[in-house]
């Protein structure tokens, strides 16, 4: 049993890379002048010969990573999500996705919780962008232990992976270094019969709080943590749709194109039930402290409770 930690997933990412460096000598880490912020600096310190700072040129970084992968390396091309998934989207699609190269694209400082840097840096579109690339695995781990396991899983998966990291420290709800992480498999954190909440990333710990509050109020909500948005664990989602009816999705991402749409896609084909999406409602963010912004945009336990209760009581939505 390890300690309960409160840590940003970007920190866990840097730690995991350094810890796994010896076991996986093919891993090479690239950054675009943000090593201190994305925490790839930890790897750089451990393995300076396998770290490449590409300077402020994310499109080139993704192409360099592709070239490295053709020579047997496992590159982790890292920058803020806005730049690695956003600015370099076409490079990811054509130089990594199309040739199915073994490159890991890493987007740090994703979502509204970048905070004070404001709208230009708050990437709420990365999941949508990366999901549309054929063959791309999309990972959005929720806490320290899950991130460490996800880094290992990304290394061991042969093919393109997008890994989303957060800037804000989050409380871990998992508590062991041997946390079992299976790519493409959702984790049921709470069983429940009235309704299902499907959450991802930073929002999982917040949804967990919401579920506890709901329980106190007599609402038996199921909570599923989706760390792999693509390929989505359709089986688990459809089972929840069948057993609990309504679904609420919770993500720190635009409600267009993210987890919510992925879940909608799965249930509407197999077992249509109402899906209510909690996320950023197709608007830009703005500057402010991360936690305050999350509150403002309804990305907190209180709002999840509110939405869930409304969904439960209303027959039609």
């Amino acid at each position: 049993m390890a300690e309960m930690v409160k840590k940003a997933t970007r920190e866990s990412y840097g730690e995991a890379l350094a810890e796994l460096s010896e076991k996986y000598p093919q891993v090479v880490v690239l950054d675009a002048d943000l090593a201190a912020a994305t925490k790839t600096g930890v790897f750089k310190k451990a393995c300076p010969d396998r770290f490449i700072d590409c300077g402020i040129s994310e499109c080139n970084m993704v192409g360099v990573a592709a070239g490295l992968a053709t020579c047997g390396k496992i590159p982790f091309a890292t920058s803020f999500a806005m730049f690695s998934a956003g600015r370099a989207f076409e490079q990811v699609r054509n130089s990594v996705g199309y040739p199915k190269l073994n490159v890991k694209i890493v987007g740090s400082h994703a979502g509204i919780s970048v905070g004070e840097d404001g709208a230009t840096h708050q990437c709420n579109e990365d999941i949508a962008l990366m999901r549309t690339i054929p063959g791309m695995v999309v990972l959005n781990p929720a806490d320290h232990y899950e991130m460490k396991a996800a880094v290992k899983a990304a290394i061991e998966h042969h093919g393109p992976v997008y890994l989303r990291l957060g800037r804000l420290a989050v409380e871990s709800f998992n508590n062991a270094d041997d946390y079992r992480f299976e790519l493409g498999k959702g984790v049921t954190l709470r069983d429940g019969r009235n309704i299902t909440i499907v959450a991802t990333g930073l929002m999982v710990s917040r949804a967990l709080k919401a579920v506890k509050t709901l329980e106190e109020q007599g609402i038996d909500a199921r909570l599923i943590n989706i760390h792999t948005i693509k390929p989505l664990d359709r089986e688990l989602i459809i089972k929840a749709a069948k057993e609990t009816g309504k679904i609420i999705t919770v993500e720190e991402h635009n409600v267009i194109g993210g987890l919510g749409d992925a879940v909608c896609g799965a249930v509407c084909e197999a077992f249509p039930v109402p899906v209510i999406k909690v996320g950023v409602n197709d608007v830009y963010g703005h500057s402010g402290p991360a936690v305050d912004l999350l509150d403002e945009f309804g990305l907190n336990a209180g709002h999840i409770v509110e939405v869930t209760k409304k969904a439960i009581t209303k027959q039609s939505l």
Binding site: R50, G55, C59, N60, G63, A65, G67, C71, G72
Partner: protein, 281 residues
Amino acid sequence: MNKTEKNQLQKLACKVRMGAIEGVYNAKSGHPGGSLSAADLFTYLYFREMKIDPKNPKEENRDRFVLSKGHCAPGLYATLALKGYFPMEEMKKLRHIGAMLQGHPDMKGTPGVDMSTGSLGQGVSAACGMAAAGKMDHKDYRVYSILGDGEIEEGQVWEAAMFAAHHKLDNLCLIVDNNGLQIDGSVAEVGGPEPIDEKFRSFGFDVQVINGHDFDEIEAAFHHARTVKGRPSAIIAKTVKGKDVSFMENQVGWHGTAPNAEQYETAMQDLNRVLSGLEAE
């Protein structure tokens, strides 16, 4: 290079041009102009310069080639076919459904293609990654990449150039197919990347400007590039778009247009005349 060797290469280059025209004609689409301008460069690289084995296309110590101007795939494919990576017959199926030869190079499906390209500017970065991997693993393979003069209007090319010089990738050799034309007009009119040699020089490259159709100059340039230490090389090869096909030479319209049956006949006659001349030498 002696006269026989040169004649041999010239004949091969002519066959590359014929293969490219054959492919584009059968596909009813594709890019003949740049395939013909780069034909001598392809030929020299694959038949004289690069350490490669068509029987073992993935051999890890081989030299690498990235066609950054991926639309000139017909020229590359014809070269690979002549070299023995696959039968020349495949050219007739270029761009057809289910064919091995895609409109732009696809490393998943075509033996001898080291990188998938087509989106301009991206190949150079991949070539940098291959060269960086070679340095990291202390291997002595070299990485070559042909790019277009219009292509270098893409900013990513210069990100990559900065990267290559900063990381002292002297195992990287870029070749600019400087034919002076792009889709919308002449390179000078449309994007104005000239002077190309000065740009690469200022980015830290060893730069040579050559006639890209003269095998003596091509040979000397690649020989010199191999001796350069501590910085990457750029060879600016002055070429003629549509080279050796009378009605295509220096014509903007032949960037991405397929010849009709009559034009195909004329093009093949032109190239056959060149070939017969070389055979008579």
